[in-house]
Amino acid sequence: MGKKITHFLGQAFTQVVKGPPIYYAWILFLFSVIGTGVWAYSHQFAQGLAITGMTDQVSWGLYISNFTFFVGVAAAAVLLTIPAYVYDFGPIREIAILGEILAVCAIVVCIFFVVLDLGHPERVWHLLPFIGRPNFPDSILAWDILVLNGYLIINLFISVYLLSVIYLEKKEKTWLILPVILLSIPWAVSIHTVTAYLYNGLGARPFWNSAILAPRFLASAFCSGPALCIIIFQLIRKFTNFHVKDAALFKIAEMICFAMGINLFLAAAEIFKELYTNTWHVASIIYLFAGLEGHTGLVKWIWTGESFNVIGFFLFLIPKTRKNFITLNIACIIVVIGVWIEKGMGFVIPGFIPTPLGEIWEYTPRLYEVLISTGVFGVGMLLYTLFVKIAIPIETGEMRVFKKKEIL
C-alpha cells in the first residue's frame, strides 16, 4: 500500500511539474495573481479589515458576495451528477468527475472567502464542535459551516474514490459509492439553501427577507456553475486529449436555459412584489436599480448583469445559437458575469443600503479587497488545474499503478 502511495505521489508530482509552455505560463500567471493577493492580505493582516471598503453601515462586502457566488458554483455540480448517475446519460457520466472536482475547488474558495472576512481568523476554532462552541442549531452560519464542510468531504470522497478505482484498475464498489453520490444531490441543494437562509432569516433586512430567495439562489446557481463547466470542459478538451462530447455540452446548455428561465421569472416576481407594494422596504431595490438620493454605485452593474442574463437566456434558448460554439461561449461568459453581479454585490450590498436606521452609505471595494479576492480566485483555479492535471491522465489511462505509459 505504502509503495503504491509513493508511486502515485511520484507520478502525480511528475504530472504537475511537467507540461507544455502554455501550462507553465498559466501556472506562472496564477502564482503572480496569488502572490499579489498575499501581498494585499499582508496589509489586511497588519491593519485589519479597515483597509477594506467595509464599514459599520455596509458590514459585508466583496468577500461575502464572492462567497455567495461560489457556493452556487459548488452546488451546480449536481446538474452533472443528476443526468450522469440518475438518468445514466453517457456523455455527461464521462465528465461528471470534472464537475465534482470543480465543486471541491469552489468550496475551498468559499471557505477562503469566509475566513478572510473574519476579524479574528485565528479564532476560527471557536466554530468547531467539541473544541469550540458552535451555536448549533440556532445560527444559520453554524449550519452553513456544517453543510459546506460536509459537501467538501462528500465531493472529495467521490472524486478521489472514483479516480483511485480507475488508477488501481479495480472495479468500483457500487454499494459504497452510489449512496454517497445520491446523497451529494440533496446535499448540493442544501448548501445553497442554507446559504440563502443565512440572509433570508434576518427580519432586520427586508431586502433579503423574501421567501423565494432560496429558489432564486438555486436557479441562478444552476446557470453560473454549469456555464463555467461548459467553458472549462472546452478548455480541457482543447489542451488535453481528454474527450468531451458535444452532446454533453449541449445538454448542459439546455439545462442552463431552463434554470435561467426560472431565475429570471423569480427575479421578476421579486421586483414586482417590491415595486408594486411600494412600502418603505422598497428602498433597497430602488437603490439597486435606480439609485437612492444620488447614490448610484450599483445601477450600471445590475443593469449590465440583468441584461447579460436576459441575452444569455435567449442565446441558450434558440437552438441555433445554443449549438454554435461562438454564441454558446458568449452566452456562458455573460451568464457567469451576470449571475456574479446579480447574486454577488447586486444581492449582498443593497441589503445594507439603507441601514436599518435609514442611513445611506455607499460601499465600494477597495483595491486591497479586489486583489485579495482575485488572489483567492487564483487559488481556486490553481487547485483545479493541478487536480485536473492529475485526474485527466488517470481518466485517459495514461497514469496507472505500476504501468509505464508515456506521460503527457
Binding site: 477594506t52 466554530l127 451555536n135 439603507p354
Partner: protein, 297 residues
C-alpha cells in the same frame, strides 16, 4: 453536577490543547498570547479561570496604558430584568448621551465608534430614511424637528444572539445582551441581523488616549477592545451591576432617560409603562426590546 462540569472542562481543555497544539507551539514563545488564544468562553470558565483571566487582563491593560484598572466580572443578580425608558417629548437632541457613553465605555476615538446614534426628524415624518444622522446640532432643540436617540434595545428576543455562530454574544439573566470580546471571531453576522444598527465593529485597532480611559471595567462591558471584534451598548454593565444608573441616564440634561428593574413594580421603568403611552421600535419584528420610548406630555 460539579463533577460532570469538571470532567467536561478537562476534556475540553485536553481537546483544545491537542487540537490547537500546532498553533500554540507557534506562539509558545509568548505565554500571554497563547493563553489568550486558548482562553475559554466566558460562560464556561470556572471561578478560578475567571480570576486568572481577570488578573491577566488587568496586568495586560496596566502594561499597555500605564494605569491601574479594576476589571469586574459581577454576575447578574436574580430578580432583575433591566428596562430603559426614553421620553421623546423631552429629548432635545443635544448628543450629551452619545459622548457620556463614549467616555464611560472606552469607545474608540479613532476610528470613531459611538454606541448611541441620535436621529433628527422633521415634525410629521417618522421614516428612518428621512432622518438626519449628521445634523449640526447648533442650539437645541430646533423648532420644527424632533429627535430619537437609538442604541442597543436589549431585545428579549435578540436576533443578534440567535445568529452568532460561536455563541460569543448572549443575553444575560438580567436581560443585557453582552459580547465576550475574546470569543468573537468577527464575522459580523450579528451586525447584519440587528434591526437597530446597534452593533459596531472594530475594523481598525481601537484608539483611546490612556488618560481618557475609564478604569472601572467589566469583562462583558467597557474593557478595552481589540481589533476585529463587535461591541455594543451594555446598559453600562460596569455601573448597573453595582446598582448605579447608566452614564447616559445621569448625563441627560432634560431627564429624558429612565432606567430600572422591570420586575420591580415600583421602579421608574415600571411606572412609565403603567402610566404613560409607550412604544418600542420596530415592534413588528417581534424582537421585544426592553427599551421603551414614551411620551410624558
Amino acid at each position: 453536577m460539579k463533577k460532570e462540569h469538571d470532567k467536561k472542562l478537562t476534556r475540553r481543555t485536553f481537546l483544545k490543547t491537542a487540537g490547537v497544539a500546532a498553533a500554540s507551539l507557534a506562539v509558545s514563545g509568548c505565554n500571554g498570547i497563547s493563553e489568550e488564544f486558548l482562553q475559554s468562553h466566558f460562560r464556561e470558565m470556572g471561578p478560578d479561570e475567571i480570576n486568572q483571566t481577570r488578573e491577566r487582563l488587568e496586568k495586560q491593560y496596566k502594561k499597555k496604558y500605564g494605569r491601574t484598572f479594576h476589571l469586574g466580572t459581577e454576575p447578574a443578580d436574580p430578580g432583575i430584568l433591566f428596562g430603559y425608558g426614553l421620553d421623546l417629548s423631552r429629548c432635545i437632541g443635544c448628543r450629551r448621551c452619545v459622548y457620556a457613553c463614549v467616555h464611560e465605555n472606552n469607545q474608540s476615538r479613532m476610528p470613531q465608534i459611538q454606541w448611541i446614534r441620535v436621529l433628527r426628524f422633521k415634525n410629521g415624518s417618522r421614516n428612518f430614511e428621512e432622518s438626519d444622522h449628521y445634523y449640526d446640532a447648533g442650539m437645541v432643540p430646533k423648532e420644527g424637528y424632533y429627535t430619537i436617540p437609538i442604541q442597543c434595545q436589549q431585545c428579549e428576543n435578540p436576533p443578534c444572539v440567535k445568529v452568532c455562530p460561536t455563541g460569543a454574544t448572549w443575553k444575560e439573566p438580567d436581560g443585557i445582551v453582552v459580547v465576550d470580546y475574546n470569543w468573537c471571531i468577527g464575522c459580523r453576522y450579528c451586525m447584519a441581523a440587528c434591526p437597530y444598527w446597534a452593533r459596531h465593529f472594530n475594523f481598525a485597532t481601537p484608539h483611546v488616549p490612556a488618560d481618557k480611559l475609564n478604569t472601572n471595567l467589566h469583562y462583558l462591558g467597557n474593557r478595552p477592545r481589540m481589533r476585529g471584534v463587535v461591541e455594543k451598548c451594555t446598559f453600562c454593565i460596569q455601573r448597573t451591576r453595582k446598582g448605579r444608573y447608566p452614564a447616559c441616564v445621569e448625563v441627560c440634561p432634560v431627564g429624558a432617560r429612565k432606567f430600572g428593574n422591570l420586575l420591580d413594580e415600583n421602579s421608574e421603568i415600571s411606572m412609565i409603562i403603567k402610566t404613560k403611552r409607550v412604544f418600542r421600535l420596530k415592534a413588528d419584528l417581534n424582537t421585544q426590546p426592553k427599551f421603551y420610548y414614551f411620551f410624558s406630555l
